[in-house]
């Protein structure tokens, strides 16, 4: 009973503070929410909440603001994921359907996420691990340079220019193309890499070097390293919502956005596509971003090919809305990748 009201008070404080960005006092609280009790009672509850470390006051005679711990409690226990309205769902799927290649899907996702949440959105490129090799194309650029193009089932194309140790004939190239496609086409990436690695061993002495470098570049292209290290960011203009403290909030965020490695760290390891992870303030991996929260989730065609996407915003943000948007976008993107 009493506990219930205390929770209602915490929820009200979080919601009001998120909306107004100002510390909220007992009087305004009872005015704006139907708590059915007097300000004095609310004050007692607030004192208890402060005792528990869920809220704090910036200075003695000010209202309360939620602490990181308070937001955590709010997210874990007081939030039910808002369902998206039918119109929103239609808008999302419509917007993403229009995409015609992988880059396009990723780019649209970021824009969409940024727009829906009015925050900075981050999308990691899908991992290649589950995708299969559609085709490998070799093109001679000169007698000692070749272009290796790897086409994957997801529609992703990786390319490498390879310097050859010895001169090469068109016949050899055609032969190699045949062998490589025979070994790799249709296979999952991991198996294709294994199959390819065996190729040079069977080759004639005079071409083993050529086989070697080309296969090596393919294997390298196949390794996830390139693709899922790539990250796309959108909605940077929403940094304006981070508040007025440029140095303490916006600047470190700008710096983080420059470094893709840092962004990947921020997104964290996606655990599953159904679970939306929330990292609040100091919980995150980067100390400078102590007033920044991350709402992220995994996405991908299958459980074993997860990438991550999410949004980044000030700790004072609309968690339920962001979580719903992140989850919705992730699920739509996943299903689109699944078709492809």
């Amino acid at each position: 009973m009493v506990e219930d009201r205390k929770m209602a008070v915490l929820r009200a404080i979080v919601e009001d503070y998120v909306a107004t960005q100002e510390p909220v006092g007992s009087k305004t609280l009872v005015e704006r929410h139907q708590l059915g009790v007097s300000p004095a009672t609310v004050r007692n509850d607030m004192a208890a909440l402060e005792e528990e470390g869920l809220i704090a006051q910036p200075h003695t005679s000010a209202g309360r603001i939620p602490t990181d711990k308070g937001y955590r409690f709010f997210v874990d226990r007081l939030t039910t994921l808002k369902a998206m309205s039918a119109a929103e769902r239609r808008a999302i799927s419509g917007f993403l359907e229009g995409a015609h290649d992988l880059d396009d899907v990723v780019q649209r996702s970021v824009r969409l996420l940024a727009q829906l949440t009015q925050q900075v959105a981050i999308v990691q490129y899908p991992t290649l691990s589950r995708s299969t090799v559609r085709h490998v194309e070799l093109v001679a650029l000169s007698t000692t340079r070749a272009l290796v193009v790897l086409i994957l089932s997801t529609g992703r194309v990786e390319q490498r220019v390879v310097e050859l140790p010895v001169e090469m004939t068109d016949d050899l190239l055609a032969d190699l193309r045949l062998k490589i496609n025979g070994a790799a086409a249709g296979e999952r990436i991991s198996e294709a890499a294994t199959a390819l690695a065996a190729l040079p061993e069977k080759a004639a002495h005079d071409v083993v070097g050529t086989y070697g470098v080309i296969v090596a570049s393919l294997v390298e292209a196949m390794s996830d390293h390139r693709s899922d290290e790539r990250v796309v960011v959108g909605g940077t203009a929403n940094l304006a919502r981070f508040g007025d403290n440029f140095d303490s909030a916006i600047k470190p965020m700008l710096e983080a956005l420059e470094e893709h490695v840092v962004l990947l760290k921020l997104l964290g390891h996606a655990t599953s596509s159904s679970h939306v992870a929330v990292r609040i303030g100091h919980e995150g991996p980067i100390d400078e971003l102590f007033s920044t929260s991350v709402v992220a989730t995994g996405y991908g065609a299958a459980e074993d090919s997860l990438s991550a996407l999410g949004v980044v915003g000030p700790t004072r943000m609309d968690y339920p809305g962001s979580m719903a948007a992140v989850r919705a976008v992730a699920s739509y993107v996943s299903s689109i990748l699944d078709e492809a």
Copy 2:
């Protein structure tokens, strides 16, 4: 004589203001620069410069700051392009040499430019116009969908997924691949497009539709539209240098950075690779960016395939340094594209 000193004063004001970001007064001016005259004399010169609209004072009892017109004069008449030191040249070429594909070149260029100038860097993708078609690859994704891959001499790869109007056999695809490569391989883009456009006309009735959609997607991929509309931005963290007025300077810039179309407008039409264009404050195409300057230049393998790159910063910026860096990077990138 007197004119010379006035110019020296203007130069000193610009340099000091850029360095300190504070209005500069007559006294500090004679202290920091060897002008050989008294503050009073400098004051007279300043009054004259203000009369001409080259400098202004933010309020009555403050030092002077350059106006846009003053910067313009400084750039046009008082600046000689700093040559880069040998070490800098080595660093630049070394950093860019390491790139192994077009995306990589572009990305390294932005980073480099941002680092050299400590500002926000923008690089437009090279136009395709001069490059030739290396190879076209068609891959069946299903009987009614095909992946069209266009490989250009620059190493750039464009891809499209095409929905086919009727089912297609592997034979037809092979035939089509042959015909297309016969018509387009080795040709410049513009000629390849023309040659390809003629193909469907010669096709048998039952496959004319298939020919049509595939050729259309190729022609579309060949048109510059896609590639040189792409823009890459780097060094966003340097927005911090824009000053403290978030709303009037940083926010509009963040918004501009979101929209690639706006960025292209900012870069402007590159005129030639040797000329570095400077747009100061209100001279630019976007009113909101009235306190922002752009230093840009064209680059590319040849005069007829120009794209643009440059940096964006507050009007109060180091023009000589930025201009030198922009020119140097442009020339190195051009030569690298030339080799490829």
